[in-house]
């Protein structure tokens, strides 16, 4: 019974992380659906809904600061957990911004003719959302092994991003009138690619939480550097 207050407040913070995460997952999924189906109303909802994500993030950040100040969890696992929560709320908010960005692109493109059917973008979003869901679950349950297994999925997202990139470049070369629209789609794909990177950051926090070790799970690609001397 010695630390019921702190444990109760930590449980509440983790519940809030789950809630924030579900809002962010929804934002990403809905933004890509809106882009694909050219549903302006849905895009508008995602765009406007980002405000709720931001205020929830601020509330969670503030609550974490209050727990730090009043409960002083300044040791070991408790400290790592609270510090990680601050980091992860920031990552979640940024991912929410990517959803908002894609919704904005859906609104800008409006009912202009599509440059191509959107197949890979929804795939990237689905993988990204699955990665995010697993990453937050691993964090909340303190499962470092699960967290280590997630960043591998980023390779699929990177591959799809490369495919989308090359495909769009081809389309632009063939018909320069598509450059503007294709470029917007490139940005949407870039947002999804960045999302997966941020999920990797969340996984790093889970590993840090459990082991106390701060290190990258996807180290710098030396082969890439060798190819670009």
């Amino acid at each position: 019974m010695t630390r019921e207050t702190l444990d109760r407040r930590i449980r509440h913070l983790l519940d809030e992380i789950l809630l924030l995460d579900s809002m962010v997952e929804q934002s990403i999924s809905a933004s890509v659906v809106a882009l694909k189906s050219r549903d302006m109303e849905a895009a508008r909802r995602v765009y406007a809904g980002d405000q709720q994500i931001n205020s929830r993030r601020f509330a969670l950040e503030n609550e974490t600061m209050v727990v730090l100040a009043t409960q002083q969890p300044i040791m070991a696992h408790d400290l790592r957990l609270l510090a990680s929560i601050l980091e992860i709320t920031g990552e979640l908010e940024r991912i929410g911004d990517y959803g908002k960005g894609i919704a904005k692109i859906a609104l800008i493109l409006g009912d202009q003719p599509p440059v191509k059917p959107l197949i890979d973008l929804p795939r990237m979003a689905a993988i990204g959302v699955e990665m995010l869901h697993k990453a937050i679950s691993a964090f909340v349950s303190g499962d470092a092994d699960a967290a280590r297994a997630i960043p591998v999925m980023d390779d699929q997202v990177d591959q799809l991003y490369n495919d989308v990139y090359h495909e769009l470049v081809q389309i632009m070369i063939q018909d320069p009138r598509t450059i503007d629209r294709a470029n917007y789609l490139m940005w949407a794909a870039h947002n999804l690619e960045r999302m997966a990177d941020r999920v990797t950051n969340i996984c790093e926090r889970t590993i840090y939480l459990v082991t106390g070790e701060l290190k990258e799970v996807q180290p710098t690609d030396d082969e890439f550097l060798a190819r670009h001397p």
Binding site: T5, V66, Q71, Q72
Partner: protein
């Protein structure tokens, strides 16, 4: 201290629930100053204590925290030179009015001290004795068990109720004192550094117990330990000293606000360890 008049009346308990719930504050100091002889130890305090909340009083040594706490149940009167100016309102009645019985005040507003002070009697008698003196006529075994359970001590002592209260550890003794205080069903419990003589684990147990008790009681706690005030309280009153060494209330607010964003620079300097 205002001298009690020769005719003593008791404080009327509120007659209806309406009255009870209509009262926002458990107790309230109005323009209260407390003197020891010529020396003004606490000056012009206006402080409203919320019902069924924990209010912590913090501040540097000598700022009048304990004096302030003891003013809430007229405990200062036990110091011969002490006297008060202003009012302490409890259920709308000034506790310092001449017809108020200080013994009755202390029955309604109990106190737990820094050093655990069980009677040199059995654990059972530590509860039963005070209840008997206060005219308790019900089932004593039940009262003892209920009080010890409410003080989170029952599981540790139920099979040795006839042993001396002094045979317990410091933390257990303090919980026994809390059990004793709540056995006579006070409204308010004053705690003067209740954990400062205890080890960290026993301290946390007392803090968690306070969080349990506050569901039924109003608690005012004086503590030197700012972290404890931050952990345990709902409201925090920060006292400091003027040049004339008189303590006064510098800032009062929700604990979360005081410890994350105090309005006053002096409060900030104190809670961040720059003075005191």
């Amino acid at each position: 201290m205002n001298h009690p008049a020769s005719t003593v009346t008791t404080i009327a308990r509120p007659q209806t629930h309406t009255l009870e719930s209509a009262e926002q504050y458990a107790i309230e100091a109005r323009n209260l100053s407390i003197y020891y002889g010529d020396f003004r130890a606490v000056k012009d305090v206006n402080l409203q204590i919320q019902k069924q909340k924990i209010t912590a009083i913090i501040g540097p040594s000598g700022c009048g925290k304990s004096t302030m706490l003891r003013s809430f149940n007229r405990m200062n009167e036990l110091v011969p030179t002490a006297w008060a100016e202003g009012e302490v309102l409890y259920h709308g009645q000034n506790l310092y009015a001449p017809d108020v019985d200080p013994v009755e005040v202390r029955r309604r507003i109990g106190m737990v001290f820094q050093k655990p002070n069980p009677f040199p009697k059995s654990i059972y008698e530590n509860i039963a004795w005070g209840a008997r003196i206060n005219g308790f006529k019900g089932n004593m075994d039940d009262l003892v068990e209920e009080s010890l359970r409410d003080a989170a001590l029952w599981d540790e002592v139920h099979d040795k109720l006839d042993q001396s209260g002094l045979s317990l550890s410091g933390g257990q003794q303090q919980r026994l004192c809390i059990a004793r205080a709540i056995s006579i069903k006070p409204d308010i419990i004053l705690m003067d550094e209740p954990a400062s003589a205890l080890d960290p684990i026993a301290t946390l147990k007392i803090e968690e117990l306070m969080r349990e008790l506050v569901q039924n009681y109003t608690i005012i706690v004086v503590t030197h330990n700012m972290q404890q005030a931050a952990r345990v309280s709902d409201f925090t009153a920060f006292f400091t000293m003027d040049e004339d060494r008189a303590g006064y209330l510098k800032e009062f607010g929700h604990t979360e606000q005081i410890f994350t964003n105090p309005k006053d620079k002096v409060t900030e300097d104190y809670i961040t360890g720059r003075f005191g």
